[in-house]
Protein backbone atom coordinates (compact mmCIF):
# COMPACT_ATOMS: atom_id res chain seq x y z
CA UNK A 1 0.00 0.00 0.00
CA UNK A 2 2.62 2.53 1.09
CA UNK A 3 6.28 2.34 0.31
CA UNK A 4 8.70 4.98 1.50
CA UNK A 5 12.22 4.68 0.19
CA UNK A 6 15.29 6.57 1.33
CA UNK A 7 13.30 9.66 2.16
CA UNK A 8 15.32 12.64 3.33
CA UNK A 9 14.01 16.01 4.37
CA UNK A 10 16.01 19.09 5.23
CA UNK A 11 14.88 22.56 6.19
CA UNK A 12 17.84 24.62 5.06
CA UNK A 13 20.86 23.09 6.73
CA UNK A 14 18.74 21.28 9.32
CA UNK A 15 18.31 17.64 8.41
CA UNK A 16 15.02 16.39 9.88
CA UNK A 17 14.63 13.04 8.14
CA UNK A 18 17.75 11.04 7.33
CA UNK A 19 17.17 8.22 4.93
CA UNK A 20 13.84 6.77 6.06
CA UNK A 21 12.47 3.61 4.47
CA UNK A 22 9.19 2.14 5.57
CA UNK A 23 6.39 -0.01 4.23
CA UNK A 24 2.77 -0.15 5.25
CA UNK A 25 0.56 -2.97 4.03
CA UNK A 26 -3.10 -2.66 3.21
CA UNK A 27 -5.27 -2.80 6.33
CA UNK A 28 -2.28 -2.35 8.57
CA UNK A 29 -2.14 0.15 11.43
CA UNK A 30 1.33 1.52 11.95
CA UNK A 31 2.04 3.70 14.94
CA UNK A 32 5.04 6.01 14.97
CA UNK A 33 6.39 6.94 18.39
CA UNK A 34 9.43 8.90 19.45
CA UNK A 35 10.55 11.99 21.34
CA UNK A 36 9.69 15.52 20.20
CA UNK A 37 11.87 16.59 17.31
CA UNK A 38 12.43 13.01 16.19
CA UNK A 39 10.89 13.79 12.78
CA UNK A 40 7.76 11.66 13.17
CA UNK A 41 5.34 14.46 12.33
CA UNK A 42 7.49 15.56 9.40
CA UNK A 43 7.46 12.01 8.07
CA UNK A 44 3.66 11.93 8.30
CA UNK A 45 3.42 15.32 6.56
CA UNK A 46 5.68 14.01 3.80
CA UNK A 47 3.20 11.19 3.21
CA UNK A 48 0.49 13.61 2.11
CA UNK A 49 3.01 16.08 0.76
CA UNK A 50 2.27 18.99 3.05
CA UNK A 51 6.04 18.77 3.16
CA UNK A 52 7.93 17.67 0.08
CA UNK A 53 10.81 15.31 0.75
CA UNK A 54 14.20 16.61 -0.33
CA UNK A 55 15.18 13.19 -1.70
CA UNK A 56 13.76 9.71 -1.98
CA UNK A 57 10.54 8.22 -3.26
CA UNK A 58 7.03 7.65 -1.98
CA UNK A 59 4.51 5.25 -3.41
CA UNK A 60 0.90 5.09 -2.25
CA UNK A 61 -1.32 2.63 -4.09
CA UNK A 62 -0.54 3.11 -7.77
CA UNK A 63 0.75 6.66 -7.44
CA UNK A 64 4.49 7.06 -7.13
CA UNK A 65 6.73 10.11 -6.87
CA UNK A 66 10.50 10.49 -6.91
CA UNK A 67 12.07 13.48 -5.25
CA UNK A 68 15.43 14.96 -6.05
CA UNK A 69 17.09 17.86 -4.35
CA UNK A 70 16.34 21.21 -5.97
CA UNK A 71 13.73 19.76 -8.29
CA UNK A 72 10.13 20.83 -7.93
CA UNK A 73 7.20 18.60 -8.78
CA UNK A 74 4.08 19.69 -10.62
CA UNK A 75 1.13 20.30 -8.37
CA UNK A 76 -0.96 17.95 -10.46
CA UNK A 77 1.30 15.00 -9.54
CA UNK A 78 1.34 15.99 -5.89
CA UNK A 79 -2.46 16.00 -5.97
CA UNK A 80 -2.60 12.52 -7.47
CA UNK A 81 -0.62 11.09 -4.59
CA UNK A 82 -2.32 13.25 -2.00
CA UNK A 83 -5.79 12.08 -2.97
CA UNK A 84 -4.87 8.60 -1.76
CA UNK A 85 -4.43 9.95 1.74
CA UNK A 86 -6.63 11.57 4.36
CA UNK A 87 -5.14 13.68 7.12
CA UNK A 88 -6.34 14.22 10.68
CA UNK A 89 -4.53 17.11 12.36
CA UNK A 90 -3.50 17.59 15.95
CA UNK A 91 -5.62 20.72 16.28
CA UNK A 92 -8.32 19.50 13.89
CA UNK A 93 -8.21 22.58 11.60
CA UNK A 94 -11.94 22.39 10.93
CA UNK A 95 -13.29 25.24 8.80
CA UNK A 96 -14.86 27.51 11.45
CA UNK A 97 -17.34 29.15 9.08
CA UNK A 98 -18.95 25.85 8.13
CA UNK A 99 -21.14 23.47 10.11
CA UNK A 100 -19.94 19.95 10.88
CA UNK A 101 -21.87 18.66 7.90
CA UNK A 102 -20.54 21.36 5.57
CA UNK A 103 -17.00 20.59 6.71
CA UNK A 104 -17.44 16.97 5.67
CA UNK A 105 -19.17 17.95 2.41
CA UNK A 106 -16.54 20.49 1.34
CA UNK A 107 -14.08 18.12 -0.33
CA UNK A 108 -16.87 16.09 -1.94
CA UNK A 109 -18.42 19.16 -3.55
CA UNK A 110 -15.37 21.25 -4.52
CA UNK A 111 -12.85 18.52 -5.31
CA UNK A 112 -14.89 15.48 -6.32
CA UNK A 113 -17.66 17.54 -7.94
CA UNK A 114 -20.46 15.57 -6.34
CA UNK A 115 -23.92 17.10 -6.17
CA UNK A 116 -24.87 18.78 -2.91
CA UNK A 117 -27.56 16.19 -2.21
CA UNK A 118 -25.15 13.33 -2.73
CA UNK A 119 -22.49 14.98 -0.57
CA UNK A 120 -25.03 15.67 2.16
CA UNK A 121 -26.02 12.00 2.30
CA UNK A 122 -22.41 10.88 2.50
CA UNK A 123 -21.64 13.49 5.16
CA UNK A 124 -24.55 12.41 7.34
CA UNK A 125 -23.51 8.77 7.02
CA UNK A 126 -19.97 9.60 8.09
CA UNK A 127 -21.08 11.80 10.97
CA UNK A 128 -23.25 8.91 12.13
CA UNK A 129 -20.22 6.65 11.93
CA UNK A 130 -18.23 8.89 14.27
CA UNK A 131 -21.24 9.23 16.57
CA UNK A 132 -22.21 12.81 15.73
CA UNK A 133 -25.50 12.49 13.85
CA UNK A 134 -27.08 15.06 16.15
CA UNK A 135 -24.29 17.61 15.60
CA UNK A 136 -24.55 17.93 11.81
CA UNK A 137 -25.72 21.54 11.96
CA UNK A 138 -23.39 22.68 14.74
CA UNK A 139 -20.50 25.00 14.02
CA UNK A 140 -17.09 23.86 15.26
CA UNK A 141 -17.12 26.36 18.14
CA UNK A 142 -20.24 24.67 19.46
CA UNK A 143 -18.48 21.29 19.69
CA UNK A 144 -16.15 19.88 22.35
CA UNK A 145 -12.56 19.10 21.47
CA UNK A 146 -13.30 15.40 21.05
CA UNK A 147 -16.30 16.10 18.85
CA UNK A 148 -14.27 18.50 16.71
CA UNK A 149 -11.62 15.86 16.22
CA UNK A 150 -14.24 13.28 15.23
CA UNK A 151 -15.64 15.69 12.62
CA UNK A 152 -12.04 16.00 11.40
CA UNK A 153 -11.90 12.23 10.99
CA UNK A 154 -15.22 12.22 9.10
CA UNK A 155 -13.95 15.00 6.83
CA UNK A 156 -10.83 12.99 5.99
CA UNK A 157 -12.85 9.80 5.46
CA UNK A 158 -15.24 11.56 3.06
CA UNK A 159 -12.64 11.66 0.31
CA UNK A 160 -12.41 7.87 0.36
CA UNK A 161 -8.67 7.71 1.05
CA UNK A 162 -6.66 4.50 0.89
CA UNK A 163 -4.84 5.46 4.04
CA UNK A 164 -5.65 7.73 6.96
CA UNK A 165 -2.84 9.73 8.52
CA UNK A 166 -3.22 10.86 12.13
CA UNK A 167 -0.91 13.55 13.50
CA UNK A 168 -1.12 13.31 17.30
CA UNK A 169 -4.92 13.28 17.12
CA UNK A 170 -5.41 13.35 20.88
CA UNK A 171 -2.54 15.55 22.06
CA UNK A 172 -4.65 18.70 22.25
CA UNK A 173 -7.54 17.02 24.10
CA UNK A 174 -8.49 16.77 27.76
CA UNK A 175 -7.61 13.33 29.15
CA UNK A 176 -11.26 12.39 29.79
CA UNK A 177 -12.31 12.92 26.17
CA UNK A 178 -9.31 11.24 24.56
CA UNK A 179 -11.20 7.96 24.78
CA UNK A 180 -14.02 8.91 22.41
CA UNK A 181 -11.53 9.71 19.63
CA UNK A 182 -9.50 6.57 20.22
CA UNK A 183 -12.70 4.52 20.10
CA UNK A 184 -13.53 5.84 16.63
CA UNK A 185 -9.99 5.08 15.48
CA UNK A 186 -10.20 1.53 16.87
CA UNK A 187 -13.45 0.99 14.96
CA UNK A 188 -11.83 2.16 11.74
CA UNK A 189 -9.00 -0.26 12.33
CA UNK A 190 -11.57 -3.04 12.82
CA UNK A 191 -13.09 -2.20 9.45
CA UNK A 192 -9.72 -2.65 7.82
CA UNK A 193 -8.69 0.96 7.28
CA UNK A 194 -5.00 1.42 6.61
CA UNK A 195 -3.67 3.90 9.15
CA UNK A 196 -0.46 5.64 10.05
CA UNK A 197 -0.66 7.24 13.48
CA UNK A 198 1.77 9.53 15.24
CA UNK A 199 0.86 9.47 18.91
CA UNK A 200 2.03 9.78 22.49
CA UNK A 201 -0.72 7.45 23.74
CA UNK A 202 1.40 4.38 24.40
CA UNK A 203 -1.43 2.27 25.75
CA UNK A 204 -3.45 2.98 22.65
CA UNK A 205 -0.46 2.49 20.36
CA UNK A 206 0.01 -0.91 21.83
CA UNK A 207 -3.61 -1.99 21.56
CA UNK A 208 -4.38 -0.73 18.06
CA UNK A 209 -1.17 -1.20 16.12
CA UNK A 210 0.07 -4.03 14.00
CA UNK A 211 3.48 -2.49 13.97
CA UNK A 212 5.28 0.16 15.98
CA UNK A 213 8.01 2.36 14.58
CA UNK A 214 10.32 4.13 17.00
CA UNK A 215 12.00 7.20 15.55
CA UNK A 216 14.71 9.39 17.00
CA UNK A 217 16.76 12.19 15.45
CA UNK A 218 15.40 11.63 11.97
CA UNK A 219 16.01 7.91 11.68
CA UNK A 220 13.96 4.77 12.31
CA UNK A 221 15.72 3.29 15.32
CA UNK A 222 13.62 0.20 15.69
CA UNK A 223 10.41 -1.26 14.35
CA UNK A 224 8.43 -4.38 15.08
CA UNK A 225 5.32 -5.85 16.60
CA UNK A 226 3.97 -3.84 19.55
CA UNK A 227 4.83 -6.57 22.08
CA UNK A 228 8.38 -6.63 20.82
CA UNK A 229 8.90 -2.85 20.93
CA UNK A 230 7.10 -2.23 24.19
CA UNK A 231 8.21 -5.32 26.13
CA UNK A 232 11.54 -6.30 24.63
CA UNK A 233 13.07 -3.30 22.88
CA UNK A 234 16.48 -4.09 21.50
CA UNK A 235 17.93 -0.67 20.98
CA UNK A 236 19.27 1.37 23.87
CA UNK A 237 17.53 4.54 22.68
CA UNK A 238 14.15 2.81 22.54
CA UNK A 239 14.65 1.57 26.11
CA UNK A 240 15.59 5.05 27.29
CA UNK A 241 12.54 6.59 25.66
CA UNK A 242 10.10 4.05 27.09
CA UNK A 243 11.78 4.30 30.48
CA UNK A 244 11.23 8.01 30.57
CA UNK A 245 7.52 7.33 29.97
CA UNK A 246 7.65 4.85 32.85
CA UNK A 247 6.72 2.11 30.45
CA UNK A 248 9.52 -0.36 31.08
Amino acid sequence: MIEIRNVQKSFGSLSVLKDISLQVKKGEAVVIIGPSGSGKTTLLRCLNLLEQPTNGSIRIGDAKLHFHEGQSIKRQFLMELRLHTGMVFQSHHLFPHMTAQQNVMEGLVTVQRRTKAEARTTALKLLHKVGLSDKADSYPYQLSGGQQQRVGIARALAMGPDVLLFDEPTSALDPEIVGEVLKVMAELKQEGMTMVVVTHEMQFARSISDRVVFMDQGVVVEEGKPEQIFDHPEQERTKQFLNRLNWL
Binding site: N48, L50, T85, H93, P96, E106, T110, Y139, Y141, R155
Partner: protein, 221 residues
Protein backbone atom coordinates in the same frame (compact mmCIF):
# COMPACT_ATOMS: atom_id res chain seq x y z
CA UNK B 1 -35.73 83.91 13.90
CA UNK B 2 -38.42 82.96 11.39
CA UNK B 3 -36.07 84.03 8.66
CA UNK B 4 -33.49 81.46 9.73
CA UNK B 5 -36.04 78.68 10.09
CA UNK B 6 -37.43 79.39 6.64
CA UNK B 7 -33.97 79.47 5.11
CA UNK B 8 -33.12 76.21 6.83
CA UNK B 9 -36.27 74.50 5.53
CA UNK B 10 -35.94 75.98 2.05
CA UNK B 11 -32.36 74.78 1.63
CA UNK B 12 -32.89 71.37 3.18
CA UNK B 13 -34.35 69.73 0.09
CA UNK B 14 -31.76 71.07 -2.39
CA UNK B 15 -28.98 69.79 -0.10
CA UNK B 16 -30.70 66.46 0.49
CA UNK B 17 -31.35 66.03 -3.21
CA UNK B 18 -27.70 66.74 -4.04
CA UNK B 19 -26.78 64.09 -1.48
CA UNK B 20 -29.08 61.53 -3.05
CA UNK B 21 -27.88 62.35 -6.56
CA UNK B 22 -24.15 62.55 -5.84
CA UNK B 23 -22.88 61.62 -2.38
CA UNK B 24 -24.77 58.32 -2.20
CA UNK B 25 -24.05 57.00 -5.72
CA UNK B 26 -20.45 58.28 -5.59
CA UNK B 27 -19.96 56.40 -2.33
CA UNK B 28 -21.63 53.15 -3.35
CA UNK B 29 -20.07 52.90 -6.82
CA UNK B 30 -16.58 53.96 -5.73
CA UNK B 31 -16.63 51.62 -2.75
CA UNK B 32 -17.72 48.63 -4.83
CA UNK B 33 -15.09 49.28 -7.52
CA UNK B 34 -12.50 50.16 -4.87
CA UNK B 35 -13.08 46.90 -2.98
CA UNK B 36 -12.64 44.86 -6.14
CA UNK B 37 -9.41 46.74 -6.80
CA UNK B 38 -8.32 46.26 -3.18
CA UNK B 39 -8.90 42.48 -3.35
CA UNK B 40 -7.03 42.23 -6.63
CA UNK B 41 -4.11 44.27 -5.24
CA UNK B 42 -4.00 42.20 -2.05
CA UNK B 43 -3.95 38.92 -4.00
CA UNK B 44 -1.24 40.25 -6.31
CA UNK B 45 0.85 41.29 -3.33
CA UNK B 46 0.48 37.83 -1.81
CA UNK B 47 1.46 36.16 -5.09
CA UNK B 48 5.07 35.47 -5.86
CA UNK B 49 5.12 37.15 -9.24
CA UNK B 50 7.77 39.79 -8.65
CA UNK B 51 6.89 42.40 -11.35
CA UNK B 52 3.21 42.32 -10.34
CA UNK B 53 4.10 42.64 -6.67
CA UNK B 54 6.22 45.71 -7.47
CA UNK B 55 3.39 47.25 -9.48
CA UNK B 56 0.95 46.71 -6.63
CA UNK B 57 3.35 48.21 -4.11
CA UNK B 58 4.00 51.18 -6.37
CA UNK B 59 0.26 51.81 -6.74
CA UNK B 60 -0.37 51.67 -2.99
CA UNK B 61 2.68 53.83 -2.29
CA UNK B 62 1.66 56.60 -4.73
CA UNK B 63 -2.02 56.73 -3.80
CA UNK B 64 -1.44 56.65 -0.07
CA UNK B 65 1.39 59.13 -0.24
CA UNK B 66 -0.40 61.90 -2.15
CA UNK B 67 -3.50 63.94 -1.24
CA UNK B 68 -6.80 62.75 -2.68
CA UNK B 69 -7.53 66.35 -3.66
CA UNK B 70 -4.39 66.48 -5.80
CA UNK B 71 -5.25 63.11 -7.39
CA UNK B 72 -8.71 64.38 -8.34
CA UNK B 73 -7.18 67.51 -9.91
CA UNK B 74 -4.71 65.42 -11.92
CA UNK B 75 -7.48 63.17 -13.24
CA UNK B 76 -9.95 65.95 -14.06
CA UNK B 77 -7.80 68.98 -14.91
CA UNK B 78 -4.49 67.31 -15.75
CA UNK B 79 -5.34 64.39 -18.03
CA UNK B 80 -7.07 66.55 -20.72
CA UNK B 81 -3.66 68.01 -21.60
CA UNK B 82 -2.64 64.46 -22.53
CA UNK B 83 -5.76 64.24 -24.68
CA UNK B 84 -7.72 62.22 -22.10
CA UNK B 85 -10.87 64.07 -21.13
CA UNK B 86 -13.07 62.55 -18.47
CA UNK B 87 -16.36 63.96 -17.23
CA UNK B 88 -16.47 65.30 -13.69
CA UNK B 89 -18.59 62.48 -12.26
CA UNK B 90 -16.58 59.59 -13.78
CA UNK B 91 -13.36 61.40 -12.82
CA UNK B 92 -14.57 61.50 -9.22
CA UNK B 93 -15.46 57.79 -9.36
CA UNK B 94 -11.99 56.94 -10.67
CA UNK B 95 -10.25 59.05 -8.02
CA UNK B 96 -12.28 57.67 -5.11
CA UNK B 97 -12.03 54.05 -6.32
CA UNK B 98 -8.25 54.26 -6.64
CA UNK B 99 -8.07 55.65 -3.12
CA UNK B 100 -10.37 53.01 -1.61
CA UNK B 101 -8.44 50.30 -3.46
CA UNK B 102 -5.04 51.39 -2.19
CA UNK B 103 -5.97 51.78 1.48
CA UNK B 104 -8.07 48.66 1.71
CA UNK B 105 -5.69 46.37 -0.14
CA UNK B 106 -3.61 46.52 3.02
CA UNK B 107 -6.65 45.73 5.16
CA UNK B 108 -7.53 42.71 3.03
CA UNK B 109 -3.93 41.52 2.82
CA UNK B 110 -3.62 41.62 6.61
CA UNK B 111 -6.96 39.82 7.00
CA UNK B 112 -5.90 37.03 4.63
CA UNK B 113 -2.60 36.66 6.46
CA UNK B 114 -4.38 36.49 9.80
CA UNK B 115 -6.07 33.21 8.85
CA UNK B 116 -4.08 30.36 10.46
CA UNK B 117 -1.80 28.28 8.23
CA UNK B 118 -3.68 25.16 9.37
CA UNK B 119 -6.70 26.25 7.32
CA UNK B 120 -4.60 26.19 4.16
CA UNK B 121 -3.15 22.81 5.11
CA UNK B 122 -6.52 21.25 5.90
CA UNK B 123 -7.96 22.40 2.57
CA UNK B 124 -4.76 21.36 0.81
CA UNK B 125 -5.03 17.88 2.29
CA UNK B 126 -8.54 17.56 0.84
CA UNK B 127 -7.01 18.22 -2.58
CA UNK B 128 -8.44 21.69 -3.15
CA UNK B 129 -6.69 24.02 -5.60
CA UNK B 130 -5.24 27.35 -4.47
CA UNK B 131 -8.12 29.26 -6.05
CA UNK B 132 -10.69 27.00 -4.36
CA UNK B 133 -8.98 27.38 -1.00
CA UNK B 134 -8.99 31.17 -1.31
CA UNK B 135 -12.59 31.40 -2.43
CA UNK B 136 -14.16 28.77 -0.17
CA UNK B 137 -12.00 28.77 2.95
CA UNK B 138 -9.77 31.82 3.34
CA UNK B 139 -11.75 34.78 1.95
CA UNK B 140 -14.99 34.06 3.86
CA UNK B 141 -12.98 34.08 7.08
CA UNK B 142 -10.88 37.07 6.04
CA UNK B 143 -14.06 38.99 5.20
CA UNK B 144 -15.19 38.78 8.81
CA UNK B 145 -11.90 40.19 10.08
CA UNK B 146 -12.03 43.00 7.51
CA UNK B 147 -15.50 44.37 8.26
CA UNK B 148 -14.62 46.88 11.01
CA UNK B 149 -11.65 48.49 9.19
CA UNK B 150 -13.55 48.45 5.88
CA UNK B 151 -16.46 50.22 7.56
CA UNK B 152 -14.09 52.96 8.69
CA UNK B 153 -13.02 53.47 5.13
CA UNK B 154 -16.63 53.42 3.94
CA UNK B 155 -17.68 56.22 6.31
CA UNK B 156 -14.60 58.26 5.36
CA UNK B 157 -15.64 57.90 1.76
CA UNK B 158 -19.13 59.31 2.40
CA UNK B 159 -17.50 62.50 3.66
CA UNK B 160 -14.66 62.53 1.12
CA UNK B 161 -17.23 62.78 -1.68
CA UNK B 162 -17.41 66.48 -0.72
CA UNK B 163 -14.04 66.82 -2.46
CA UNK B 164 -15.85 66.21 -5.74
CA UNK B 165 -17.11 69.80 -5.40
CA UNK B 166 -13.61 70.94 -6.32
CA UNK B 167 -13.82 69.27 -9.73
CA UNK B 168 -17.19 70.86 -10.62
CA UNK B 169 -19.49 68.07 -9.49
CA UNK B 170 -22.52 69.94 -8.13
CA UNK B 171 -22.75 67.67 -5.12
CA UNK B 172 -24.00 68.54 -1.68
CA UNK B 173 -21.13 70.69 -0.54
CA UNK B 174 -21.07 72.72 -3.72
CA UNK B 175 -24.82 73.32 -3.37
CA UNK B 176 -24.14 74.49 0.20
CA UNK B 177 -21.47 76.89 -1.03
CA UNK B 178 -23.87 78.28 -3.62
CA UNK B 179 -26.64 78.79 -1.09
CA UNK B 180 -24.27 80.32 1.44
CA UNK B 181 -22.86 82.69 -1.16
CA UNK B 182 -26.28 84.00 -2.14
CA UNK B 183 -27.71 84.29 1.38
CA UNK B 184 -24.56 85.20 3.37
CA UNK B 185 -25.74 82.78 6.07
CA UNK B 186 -22.52 80.78 6.22
CA UNK B 187 -22.87 79.50 9.76
CA UNK B 188 -26.40 78.24 9.25
CA UNK B 189 -25.88 76.63 5.85
CA UNK B 190 -22.58 74.91 6.65
CA UNK B 191 -23.99 73.52 9.90
CA UNK B 192 -27.01 72.36 7.95
CA UNK B 193 -24.93 70.58 5.33
CA UNK B 194 -22.92 68.97 8.13
CA UNK B 195 -26.17 67.60 9.52
CA UNK B 196 -27.15 66.21 6.14
CA UNK B 197 -23.74 64.49 5.81
CA UNK B 198 -24.21 63.09 9.30
CA UNK B 199 -27.60 61.75 8.27
CA UNK B 200 -26.27 60.01 5.17
CA UNK B 201 -23.21 58.53 6.87
CA UNK B 202 -25.39 57.24 9.71
CA UNK B 203 -27.82 55.55 7.33
CA UNK B 204 -25.07 54.09 5.15
CA UNK B 205 -23.02 52.82 8.06
CA UNK B 206 -26.00 51.20 9.75
CA UNK B 207 -25.30 48.37 7.33
CA UNK B 208 -22.06 47.64 9.20
CA UNK B 209 -23.90 46.23 12.21
CA UNK B 210 -25.87 43.86 10.00
CA UNK B 211 -22.82 42.71 8.07
CA UNK B 212 -20.92 42.07 11.31
CA UNK B 213 -23.85 40.09 12.72
CA UNK B 214 -23.91 37.96 9.59
CA UNK B 215 -20.22 37.11 9.82
CA UNK B 216 -20.30 36.45 13.54
CA UNK B 217 -22.75 33.58 13.31
CA UNK B 218 -19.92 31.06 13.60
CA UNK B 219 -17.93 32.78 16.33
CA UNK B 220 -18.18 32.30 20.06
CA UNK B 221 -19.85 35.29 21.66
Amino acid sequence: MDKYINLFIDSLWPLFKAGLLFAVPLTLISFALGLALALLTALVRLSNIKPLVWMARFYVWVIRGTPLLVQLFIIFYGLPSLGITIGAFPAAIIGFSLSVGAYNSEVIRAAIQSIPQGQWEAADSLGMTRAQILRRIILPQAARVSVPPLSNSFISLVKDTSLAATITVTEMFQRAQQIAASTYEHMLIYCEVALVYLFFSTILSAAQVRVEKYFERYVVR
